[in-house]
């Protein structure tokens, strides 16, 4: 009976506690690494946020329209805080991977390798999106100003179209970088963009042929409108 009890219960339990005893230091190491990660991340976030503020990143973002784009997206934090927060989570992620590595589990190790090889793509995708938003705002504003100064009443619509096209282009590049539905996104972008251009061309050709004719005639003849007879300078 006693032998049976030992075989059926005590031995497995002993084995279990032995394995737990061997594994526990790894868990503790992981917890310690992650805890240190949180501390390091907080310090780095604070330092980066302060440095970004001192470098005038918030003012620059205001100038290029990035802050306004964030506000439109419901994000209330300043770009300096966002950059600090981004690095905070990157560091947490890195330390979490180190922590998981401390567990020394073969499946987890493979997963960590995959995550680490993916991080550069993630960083590049985020950079592409940030630059894309900045460029979209810049070109959108430039289009709005040029269209209003040319007295085109649908200026805002035109500017939104340009902004959307640039953002879509940036998104398709970012998704391609992340390897998410690469072919579908590129095809969708190409179809949407090509379709929009074709639709505009047809609409302009059919709906505004007289205006186009008058415009081209004026350009080719280099005639100045009567109302611009006086000199501004």
């Amino acid at each position: 009976m006693s032998e049976t009890w030992d075989t059926a219960f005590v031995e497995p339990m002993r084995e279990f506690f032995k394995e737990v005893g061997a594994f526990l230091p790894h868990v503790l190491a992981m917890v310690a690494i992650v805890a240190i990660g949180f501390g390091v991340a907080w310090i780095v976030k604070t330092a980066i946020t302060s440095a970004m503020k001192a470098a005038g990143v918030d003012q620059f973002s205001g100038r290029v329209g990035f802050s306004q784009a964030l506000s439109r997206g419901g994000i209330r934090e300043t770009p300096a805080h966002l950059i600090g927060r981004f690095f905070y989570w990157i560091i947490i992620l890195v330390f979490l991977m180190f922590g998981l590595g401390a567990l020394q589990l073969p499946h987890v190790d493979r997963f960590i390798d995959q995550v680490f090889s993916y991080i550069p793509h993630l960083l590049l995708a985020v950079t592409i999106i940030v630059v894309g938003v900045i460029l979209a705002n810049f070109f959108g504003t430039a289009t709005l100003i040029a269209a209003v100064n040319s007295q085109i009443t649908q200026a805002r619509l035109l500017a939104r179209g340009v902004r959307l096209a640039v953002i879509l282009f940036a998104l398709s590049m970012a998704f391609e970088q992340l390897g998410i539905a690469t072919s579908i996104i590129v095809a969708a972008f190409s179809i949407s963009f090509g379709g929009a251009v074709l639709a505009l061309a047809i609409a302009f050709g059919l709906g505004a042929k007289d205006a186009a004719k008058a415009f081209l005639e004026q350009r080719l003849k280099k005639e100045r409108p009567k109302e611009e007879e006086f000199s501004h300078l």
């Binding site: 100003i145 007295q151 109302e227 006086f230 000199s231 501004h232």
Partner: protein, 417 residues
């Protein structure tokens, strides 16, 4: 060109004419300059420099062929021949780059006095050359600005922004700070040449205001020469108004940064001596379309208002919104216009948005102000119009203290004024 300059050696006077496709008018300008030099400075060794921007209409050929019958201007002979130099300039296409080449030649020839005149002038006479050069050569002045009679709607950037702002900032009442015709010493030409500004808007339309402001800031002795009527071909018909505003107003704002210490200490303006016999002349009527300008203003205020949240204080934006409508009864008061210009200067100083976007967004407001001015002065004569401009100048001077107060204050988003 260097060989030609070596052949000339040294000269007393240089007259520069920048050009770009001005074959229709430049012949007259060259003849007037040649006659002026022969008549008023026959003993001086002079060079006429045409700095061309790559004209395709034969402008350099017209310059080369243009000659003047000295008998017809009652001049017996010239002691020294007039050296004519026609050369293309390099660098950014624009009037400023053309001037840079002229300064370079002036320095090489070690001239005592320079004059520059536009190539699109139809009303230039030989007397203009005397009036631009004599104060430099005989009266000890360093810089001569022009003073003309112009149509009341002509030179609207000058009348609504450049003259009143320059006067309020630097305290000198130079009526045509960006006139296009100037006289100055060879020493000042060398000083202009030494400045590293030729990659900026100074190389384009910003050159005139830059020269005038630089002369003021250097403490040069400045006077004005009464040249009579200014009639000219429209300034670069292909030029976009927004681009012109960016270049001229952008240069003005950049100069505000550079000379902040100077203009902060200026409290009031003073007259600048004016030479020349003053007389009234009839001026050609010009066509204007006020409705189109008011429409541009209305569209601009409607579409740019969100972008201007950080440029204007809420009350200015509200007042601009309230002005939208038709030309009938449309009026932008002087005090509001001055606040608009000062708020734009502060926005450029604080770099709250891309500079070119900011300055281009001024276009509809400027057109609104022009429309308001035209409506206000439709029945006015020259003197009444000048009085209106004088009132605007006083508004700029009175409100300068607000600009001063805010200049060194950091940006408070949403309430910049």
């Amino acid at each position: 060109m260097r060989r030609q300059l070596d052949g000339i050696g040294r000269a007393d006077i240089l007259v520069g004419i920048p050009s770009y496709n001005n074959a229709g008018t430049i012949g007259h300008v060259v003849r007037a300059v040649s006659a002026g030099l022969a008549k008023y400075f026959p003993e001086s060794k002079a060079a006429l420099v045409n700095s061309d921007g790559g004209s395709t209409d034969g402008t350099p050929d017209v310059v080369a062929r243009a000659g003047v019958d000295l008998q017809s201007v009652l001049v017996a002979h010239r002691v020294n021949p007039l050296h004519k130099i026609t050369t293309p300039y390099h660098g950014i296409p624009g009037k400023g780059s053309a001037f840079r080449l002229m300064f370079d030649i002036a320095a090489a020839l070690e001239v005592k006095a320079c004059a520059v005149v536009d190539s699109d002038l139809r009303s230039i006479t030989p007397e203009w050359i005397e009036l631009l050069l004599r104060p430099v050569l005989r009266e000890g002045y360093d810089y001569v600005a022009p003073y003309y009679l112009r149509h009341k709607y002509d030179g609207t950037i000058t009348n609504s922004i450049v003259y009143p702002l320059t006067r309020a900032l630097y305290g000198k009442r130079i009526r045509q700070p960006i006139g296009g015709e100037f006289g100055f010493t060879g020493d000042l030409a060398r000083y202009f040449l030494s400045k590293d500004v030729w990659g900026t808007d100074v190389a384009r339309y910003g050159i005139d205001i830059w020269m005038t402001t630089t002369a003021i800031a250097r403490g040069s002795r400045i006077c004005q020469a009464y040249l009579g009527a200014k009639l000219h071909d429209p300034k670069d018909p292909g030029a976009d108004l927004s681009a012109m505003l960016v270049q001229v107003v952008g240069s003005l704002f950049s100069l505000m940064e550079e000379h902040a210490a100077l203009w902060k200490g200026v409290e009031k303006s003073e007259p600048v001596p004016l030479f020349g016999f003053q007389y009234d002349v009839g001026l050609e009527p010009v066509a204007v379309n006020v409705d189109r300008m008011v429409e541009a203003f209305t569209l601009g205020v409607r579409e740019f208002a969100p972008m201007w949240q950080d440029v204007f204080s809420p009350d200015v934006l509200e007042r601009l919104r309230a002005l939208q409508g038709t030309a009938s009864g449309f009026h932008i008061p002087d005090e509001l216009w001055v606040r608009v210009v000062f708020d734009f200067a502060l926005a450029a100083h604080r770099r709250i948005m891309a500079r070119e976007h900011l300055l281009k967004s001024l276009t509809p407001l400027y057109l609104g102000r022009v429309a308001s001015f035209i409506l206000e002065t439709r029945q006015s004569g020259h003197r009444e119009v000048e009085e209106k401009i004088e009132e605007l100048c006083r508004a700029y001077e009175q409100q300068k203290s607000c600009l001063l107060e805010q200049w060194d204050r950091p940006l408070n988003r949403g309430a910049s004024s």
